[in-house]
């Protein structure tokens, strides 16, 4: 049964792996054929060597952990506040009308524009980075949640009232559940945004993390580590996305997609 699942997993992905491998081969060949200097544009092996260096002196692990730490806290704090607020706004039209325009206004302001304020209020280090992640996730999540709740099929609410479901039970077993598919879509999208923002935020405000690695490697004239860092960033972003996708596959979430 397990082997079957593994086989299927591979079947779906073999062509992607093959293409990626070919691209790497092409790249390495081009670097040799055109005699490109490693300072300009490193080849695949050069990049791997650079990464190995980073692994050996422990810096890669330190930086990956730092970035993940900041994203974890910023993301979870934002989600933890945004979802209840979004539910509240989804259920109360008056407050939705009042607060929504402010959220809509703040959302398009890139979190990076908040950097000077973050640095001024929170210094350098983990706090300003977490703050920027929080901003990047909070506003879109409020909007996603509100939309999910406001768009609940009224039939569900009628049925719930018919069976006498009210109060806390109504919110946890009906309203939240009905809005969950859209909330999870929001979770997936904002996680991607958070990962984007952390790399940019770390180029400006902190002394560790993958964004900092890029800047530091560039300042040390190590293009190979710049590209190696980019590769690690992409890989982790992909993994994070896949984690949330698993949530979307749950049958208690999948129903909405099938409806559409």
């Amino acid at each position: 049964m397990r082997a079957n699942g593994l086989k299927k997993w591979f079947e779906e992905r073999w062509s992607a792996f093959l293409l990626s491998f070919l691209i790497l081969v092409l790249w390495e060949t081009a670097v040799h054929v055109f005699e490109i200097k490693p300072e300009r544009f490193p080849g695949v092996f050069q990049i791997l060597k650079g990464l190995w260096e980073l692994i050996q002196d422990g810096r890669l692990l330190d930086y990956v952990v730092a970035s993940l730490f900041r994203v974890t806290w910023g993301y979870l704090l934002a989600v933890g506040l945004a979802v209840p607020l979004g539910i509240f706004l989804g259920v109360k039209p008056f407050w939705r009308r009042t607060i929504n325009p402010i959220v809509q206004f703040l959302r398009p302001i890139s979190p990076l524009a908040w950097t000077p304020i973050a640095l001024m209020w929170l210094g350098i280090g983990d706090y300003p980075a977490i703050f920027l992640i929080f901003l990047a996730v909070f506003f879109p999540m409020v909007l996603f949640t509100t939309s999910g709740v406001a768009g609940i099929n009224p039939t569900y609410l009628y049925a719930a009232s018919n069976f006498g479901i009210a109060g806390h039970e109504l919110y946890s077993r009906v309203i939240l559940q009905a809005a969950l598919p859209e909330i999870i879509t929001g979770l997936r999208i904002t996680l991607g945004t958070a990962w984007l923002v952390i790399v940019a935020a770390e180029m400006i405000a902190v002394k560790s993390g993958l964004g900092y690695l890029i800047v530091d490697a560039r300042n040390s004239l190590r293009m190979d580590q710049v590209l190696g860092g980019m590769f690690v960033i992409g890989l982790i972003g992909l993994l994070l996305d896949n984690v949330v996708r698993q949530l979307e596959k749950l049958p208690s979430i999948r129903w909405k997609r099938l409806k559409q």
Binding site: T155, Y156, Y158, S161, N162, F163, P251, W255, K256, L258
Partner: protein, 254 residues
């Protein structure tokens, strides 16, 4: 036999808004009764407000004028003893069939007892073994049956059904009709059933309430005291059938 539901002088009007110049009268001066334990069908053209009426009786909506009495008391909201089976989307899609049905008895404290009761009702509607399935994994007919099970497990004294078989294919619909008759025989509920299918009404109902088009009034109330299974191709039933077809404006009764 007493009347379970009494409708007196019921009006439902939607107030005029800026777009329309006049109030929209949906239901006008409805008066009828529903005997306890009867199977009453609301029959009428599409969009004539049958659903609106049913929702008012179920407590989801308020009449603009008139009285809606259930067991002699005015209706003031939805009631867990008066279960509504919806046209679509009645089941909660994030719960399995089992979990949906369990909603009908969720105040029962004993978890084991609840579990067993749900299994019993799953079997009763022919969904044994499908309890762990989600509504989107079930066929239309199976969803209907699950919703009926959910309604019945609550031991309701009124069952509202809003065109429950409308989305099903023809053969399934015929099967479901048969099952509704079984339900009515087994359970002591009063059933209010909306359909636009004349044959269906004749098959199922003890009483048919015929509605006009908007603004909706009652065209006629017919009592059908005939045994089941009914053959409406001959005899009095055939005559009643032709009568209804003519009233509805269809002159060539098939």
């Amino acid at each position: 036999m007493s009347n379970k539901v009494v409708i007196q002088g019921l009006y439902k009007t939607y107030e005029k808004n800026t777009v329309q110049s006049a109030d929209k009268h949906v239901l006008v001066d409805l008066n009828f009764t529903v005997p306890t334990r009867s199977f009453t069908c609301f029959l009428g053209p599409s969009g004539c407000g049958k659903s609106t009426l049913l929702r008012i009786i179920a407590g989801f909506d308020n009449p603009s004028r008139g009285a809606v009495l259930v067991d002699g008391e005015p209706v003031c909201g939805p009631n867990p003893k008066h279960i509504f089976v919806f046209q679509e989307d009645g089941l909660f899609p994030w719960f399995t069939a089992h979990e949906n049905i369990e909603l009908g008895i969720r105040h029962l404290k004993d978890a084991q007892k609840r579990h067993e009761l749900v299994l019993e009702y799953l079997e009763m509607v022919g969904l044994s073994g499908f309890g762990a399935y989600y509504p989107h994994e079930l066929s239309g007919g199976m969803r209907r049956r699950a919703e009926v099970a959910r309604a019945l497990i609550a031991n309701p004294d009124i069952l509202f059904m809003d065109e429950p078989f409308g989305a099903l294919d023809f053969v399934t619909r015929l099967q479901m009709r048969e099952e509704m008759l079984n339900v009515h025989a087994m359970f002591p509920t009063t059933i209010l059933f909306i359909t636009h299918d004349i044959d269906e009404a004749i098959q199922l109902a003890d009483q048919i309430v015929l509605f006009t088009e908007r603004p909706t009034r009652i065209k006629e109330v017919l009592a059908l005291d005939y045994p089941h299974p009914r053959d409406f191709t001959k005899g009095e039933l055939a005559a009643i059938r032709r009568h209804i077809y003519r009233l509805m404006g269809v002159h060539a009764a098939l």
